[in-house]
């Protein structure tokens, strides 16, 4: 690892001041599970690392007045998976965080760090996008910007977090009344691996038992998490049958753009994206009591 200076931020204002002082030469670190690896591999060579762990007030999980769950950016991923409010209000999210690596990594990695990392192979983003979650970005002098999770991830390991901003929170609304949710992770190698393909689905039936609304978001199959909008559009208002689901899932092959790696070829991941979309939609329907 190239040497650097480490600065432990005492509070948010201190962190903003350090960010202002060191600008592009600084990287923020909370759990460090991603950044330390990048620094070891010299993908990242900051002159200054700003530690966020000691900042108070960003480690709680609360219900908002609108019934959403607000998660502080410094909550560890394990805190999220185990929190009763998360399990009760947004079980899809509890399950998605439980799929991340191992308990030891989830003990260290934080919610905000994971979002800012922008790795398209991570487990939580598809579920967060499918539920319409928002990410709170704070800046100096009390500035705050709220970005839909769907718009946060702009390119490979690149997010919409701007210079001088720090991820401070995540707000996740529960799934609509009557909806069923599912997150499937295809793991042909080891249980702690990144997904070969992952799919989050939220299906809301209408009064006739057809598809009232649907969200399908895929991970590990492109430069960012990918929402399968064409597949969603083809199902909205339609009866959910083997034929309609199969046709929609086939459309996903055109929506994804997987990178070839040791988890599979581009073609294989494309096919698995179709297969797992079909399964995730069915699982969500089952969980909604539609099957």
């Amino acid at each position: 690892m190239i040497d650097f200076e480490f600065h432990q931020a005492n509070d948010l204002d201190h962190a903003f001041a350090l960010l202002a002082d060191y600008g592009d030469d600084a990287r923020l670190m909370s759990g460090g599970t991603a950044l330390v690896l990048q620094m070891k591999q010299r993908f990242s060579q900051p002159g200054h690392v700003i530690g966020l762990r000691r900042i108070a007030g960003l480690g709680s999980i609360e219900e908002t007045s609108e019934g959403s769950v607000r998660i502080g950016a410094l909550c560890t991923q394990r805190q999220v998976e185990n929190h009763p409010l998360v399990s009760e209000r947004i079980p899809l999210v509890a399950g998605a965080y439980r799929h991340v690596a191992t308990p030891r990594i989830r003990n260290m990695a934080t919610v905000g760090g994971g979002l800012a990392h922008g790795d398209p192979n991570q487990d939580p983003p598809p579920s967060l996008i499918a539920l319409g979650a928002s990410v709170v970005l704070s800046s100096a002098s009390g500035g705050e910007r709220v970005v839909p999770a769907e718009e946060l991830f702009v390119d490979y390991f690149e997010t919409d977090v701007r210079p001088g901003e720090i991820v401070t929170g995540l707000v996740v609304p529960p799934a609509p009344d009557g909806a069923g949710t599912a997150y499937l992770k295809f793991l042909p190698r080891t249980a702690d691996d990144y997904a070969t393909v992952s799919v989050a689905a939220v299906v809301t039936p209408d009064e006739a038992g057809n598809c009232g609304d649907i969200r399908v978001v895929l991970g590990s199959v492109g430069l960012t998490p990918i929402r399968a909008t064409a597949a969603e559009d083809s199902l909205r208002g339609q009866p959910l049958t083997d034929e309609t689901i199969g046709a929609a899932a086939a459309m996903v092959q055109d929506a994804v753009d997987p990178l070839e790696d040791h988890r599979g070829s581009t073609e294989y991941k494309r096919e698995m994206a179709e297969v797992f979309t079909r399964r995730a939609v069915r699982q969500a329907m089952t969980n909604a009591g539609m099957m």
Partner: protein
């Protein structure tokens, strides 16, 4: 650039001068001579370097020592009290929970962290928790038996008696 770091390691206050890039595993092993903690994969996957930071298990090979300054660190050396092994250590001996031994400090620390958090984990919970501690000798059944044994009050009271 070297900086002074203060940590409480196994109950003792320690001051170390080290560069900011010093990893916790290296600080423990090379600056403090606590070589019980092993480094395996160096990327946070294998669990050999598991230690507790303020009671929570972490991978010390991807933890900057500077980032946990002021924290309480517990390593394998800190488990035995007054010459008496911790129940988890005793159970690993009694139930043959190790073969070559390189993964053992990490296994023991992970098992301790589990039993600190859950008094009576199910077998599935133990397997899920210990998933990130790899054993190249593949002695997983014995490790599982050791953790199960360590959580029964009888086993910990008997600690020290060989089976």
């Amino acid at each position: 650039m070297p900086q002074l770091m203060n940590l409480k390691v196994n109950g003792e206050d320690r001051e170390v001068e080290a560069p900011a890039r010093r990893l916790l595993v290296d600080l423990l092993r090379y600056d403090l001579g606590l070589t019980g903690t092993k480094e395996g994969c160096s990327v946070g996957v294998c669990g050999a370097c598991t230690v507790l930071v303020d009671g929570e298990m972490v991978a010390s090979c991807i933890t900057l020592a500077a980032a946990v300054e002021g924290s309480e660190i517990t390593t394998i050396e800190g488990l035995a009290q007054d010459g008496r092994l911790h129940p988890v250590q005793q159970a690993f001996i009694d139930y043959g929970g190790f073969q070559c031994g390189i993964c053992t400090p990490g296994q023991v620390m992970a098992a301790k962290a589990l039993l600190d958090d859950y008094a009576q984990p199910t077998e599935e919970e133990i397997r899920d928790w210990m998933m990130g501690n790899l054993c190249r000798c593949t002695g997983y059944y014995k490790i599982l038996e050791s953790v199960v044994a360590a959580m029964s009050p009888a086993a910990s009271q008997e600690g020290g008696q060989a089976r």
